[in-house]
């Protein structure tokens, strides 16, 4: 007879394996930080450095002096501040409108369109977008970096809000309608407050996109004063690919806000409230 295991006892093998996995996935970031603290211009010591031997914090300052990193940082922040709210609002409005349609056929069609759009490869839209942006005179303006927000950045975001809002019981919305609430009130006063995790999740994912967006500045921005952080990193690399400490310091500066957001909001994204719950519902 097999013994019955206590389901609450921690499983040692599982914990050890998880620690190894965690180590592998944190490793790149960790060695990045260690490398960013090595003094620049000094040849690396032979052998692997598990811990920083020096703390050359001035690398972080040097990044701002060698290239206009402050300018790029400011540009990135501005783009994020404009694009993330637009993208989140458009995705939320779409998700709400989509949820509230009482024509099931129409709902289904919007789902098909979404899935179709999700499957379109990025490269397929570059060329015509270039033409479109030149017609609009948006090439070399911040709008060339913001415009994906007008399409909710990623069709996945509208799908997430739609699935998230479906978790709100119909009765709540219907009784509010009977009390004379307008659709807009339904959206702002009931749907949004009841689905903060969904909205926060979509806002974070759009932040991740605009903060790290490399391809749009590469294709549509030629004016150096409009460059954003990802382009700045590439410039730093092209200036001197051997100056690892400086390149690492710049990379860590760019990674830091994302880590911060992860830290604060991980309970929204990774716990039970999470995206994974959203996907359970049948459409």
């Amino acid at each position: 007879m097999r013994e019955m295991k206590n389901p609450h006892a921690p499983n040692v093998t599982r914990i050890i394996l998880s620690i190894i996995i965690g180590f592998i996935f944190i490793f790149p970031l960790y060695v990045g930080i260690v490398a960013s603290l090595q003094p620049a211009g000094v040849p690396a010591k032979p052998g692997f450095q598990w811990f920083p031997t020096t703390f050359a914090w001035n690398n972080y300052q040097a990044v701002f002096e060698i290239i206009p990193f402050g300018r790029y940082l400011l540009n990135s922040i501005l783009i994020v501040l404009i694009a993330v709210p637009i993208s989140t609002v458009i995705a939320s409005l779409a998700g709400f409108g989509w949820r509230q349609l009482n024509d099931e056929k129409l709902q289904r069609w919007i789902l098909y369109i979404n899935i179709f759009v999700l499957m379109i490869p990025g490269a397929a839209v570059w060329i015509f977008r270039y033409q479109l942006l030149s017609w609009l005179d948006w090439i070399d303006t911040p709008l060339a970096l913001i415009f994906p927000a007008f399409a909710a950045t990623n069709p996945l975001f509208a799908l997430i809000t739609f699935l998230g809002y479906q978790q709100i019981p119909d009765e709540i919305l219907e009784s509010a309608l009977l009390d004379g609430a307008s659709p807009m009130e339904l959206f702002i006063k009931i749907t949004i407050p009841l689905s903060i995790p969904t909205t926060a999740g979509v806002a974070i994912l759009s932040f991740v996109f605009y903060w790290g967006d490399f391809i749009n500045p590469l294709l549509y921005i030629y004016d150096p004063t409009l460059y954003t952080l990802p382009v700045g990193l590439e410039i730093l690399k092209q200036m001197d690919i051997t100056n690892i400490p400086l390149i690492m310091a710049a990379s860590i500066i760019m990674v830091f806000p994302v880590l911060l957001i992860f830290w604060f909001l991980q309970r929204f994204i990774f716990h039970e409230l999470s995206l994974s719950n959203l996907f359970q519902r049948d459409i």
Partner: protein, 284 residues
Amino acid sequence: MKISHQRQYLLFLSPYLVGIFIFIILPALSTLIIAFTKYNLAGRPEFNGLTDFVSILSSAYIRIGIKNTVLFLITAIPLRVAGALLLALLLQKKSPPYGFFRATVMLPTFIPQVAFALICLWIFNPFYGPVNTILQGIGLGQPEWFTDPWMARLMILLISAIQLGEGFIMMLAGLQSIPKYFIEAAKIDGANAWKIFWKITFPHLMPWIFIFIIRDLVFSLEQSLIPTYTITYGGPYYSTTLMPLLIYELAFDFFDFGLASATLVVFYAIMGLIVLSLVNLWRK
């Protein structure tokens, strides 16, 4: 006059629908048309029939790009699917430390891609980088990640394999959608973990794995653009020139929009056929 509620809901949807039409659907459709034209930045597109499609056949550069891409897809997708599934099985527990480990698995996917690629540039540095100093330490030599075509391909594959956060989320979602009582009942009947996995968990996950594979045919390639651009720029000897970088080169370095579009059309027509046959296989 009052607008009916249903009309208003359509109004809520309309900015999004207009947005995806202008910025995604229209550009994708026009690529289909541009493929049949001679078109660069200088002039208007001129219809030139199948010329671009014929030049694909004669271009060694495009051929090697397609070959690399196919090679990448048939290695990266199984690796990413298996990796995401195993990690989700390992880390699906609700207790606190696993929440932290789940977050670490997502890190390489969600931190800015250029920053991650540059960190990888250091990690795979042939002389001083962490990977090679560790390999050297355990007597495995120092692979030339940047100069040997096969090692460069392996490096891009490894980077793609560690960026599996999205698939990981999907697998977690799939696992959570399995009713708990199924597994409880099997346990009471005396089934072991292995049996539970193959008889219950895996069949339940099949739809999720299927969606993951279909999406990864496009998405794993999208993700490859930044590493292949910043770390190797397609080299050495074009060994890491994958589809997105190839299109970028054709369109924005050679300014041959027609040829770039034709290449896209041919490649994604092949992909479409693969997807359709997969869907058919799935239905059976």
